[in-house]
Symmetry: C2
């Protein structure tokens, strides 16, 4: 499987995925604002005209990358949260998955997490909605654990913010040379998080 197919299994055709990958790499290299659609097309080995067949603008590419990344992380958080398991087990798994996603996909995740301000207003609202759902899901699991006496948390909102913050920041510093696999890092951070929530 190609890298772009692995990153965006839900996007078709392959040319669109190749453009998304080229955009991620170009944004990572020189930032969103300094990247042109011509840069992206050329990094994908395509003409600017061929780019416009798939994406009407650079902003549309950014939105596709951002929406897919937020959708993927929302899905992994929500799918664990609705399991019929203890909040402790669920929180461990959420942090493991969320952290290892940000480590494994760190270049994509950087665009997803750090280029929100560059989104046009309507697109930003869609992404903000996905972000609110991610945050609410984590809050709900913390609140559930607090009610059951598994967690001891005085401010659920701040605790949820800290949990997600630890995961998001992995995208900033993680590289393949970081010495820990994404899975091992996810496991360690899950342990630290449970302690932070007063279980451990």
């Amino acid at each position: 499987m190609t890298l772009s197919a692995e990153l965006w299994p839900d996007v078709q055709p392959d040319a669109a995925r190749r453009l998304m990958l080229a955009a991620v790499e170009s944004f990572a290299e020189r930032g969103y604002h300094a990247t042109t659609t011509r840069d992206i097309a050329s990094a994908a080995g395509m003409s600017p005209a061929a780019l416009y067949v798939h994406f009407p603008s650079k902003a549309a590419l950014l939105f596709a990358i951002s929406e897919s990344g937020h959708q993927q992380t929302l899905t992994l958080v929500e799918s664990v949260a609705k399991r019929d398991q203890s909040p402790l087990v669920k929180m461990h798994k959420i942090v493991e998955d969320f952290v290892s996603w940000h480590a494994r996909r760190h270049t994509v995740a950087r665009v997803v997490q750090y280029e929100l301000k560059a989104l046009p207003e309507k697109e930003y609202e869609v992404i903000a909605g996905l972000r609110r759902r991610i945050e609410q899901t984590v809050r709900d699991v913390i609140a559930e654990g607090t009610e059951q006496g598994v967690f001891t948390v005085s401010d659920v909102r701040t605790a949820a913010r800290a949990v997600l913050s630890l995961g998001v920041d992995v995208a900033r510093w993680y590289t393949e040379r970081s010495g820990k696999t994404p899975k091992a890092l996810g496991h360690d951070y899950a342990e630290l998080t449970l302690r932070m929530l007063g279980a451990g």
Copy 2:
């Protein structure tokens, strides 16, 4: 006192500080790569020629901002670490100060934390050295606490990373509308951190 004098009390003359503030705002607005020295000079109400009196290049401005920010955070971390106090008290204070610095100075901190890749190689090495000292200082306090049995940490390196990561990420999400003052946030994060380290 002007904002630029408050941010960079150690920089003289005031025109240099005004250029640094204009650079921070321009980088925050459109990213480092898409900002020109002309943009920065004009945001500071100066001519491009006047800018070059103080900074030979855009990269020199970025380095001045980055070095000052790293120096400030290193100073606050080191000054607490060398106190003759319990590692628990010191860690609480380090997190309070580090977190509230990133909240209070979030626009500057974003440039400091997220534009490292844009630094020229030599300048990057200077900053990397400051970052290693910050990280080492936090590791030392954690190791000291672990030896004394105040903290229970199996992997000091990962724990230090997580502690700093929580603080750095504040620069990404904090705004004046976040509902908590920098000081209150610093206090809450210090409590969460002590629990994460197995004390609390």
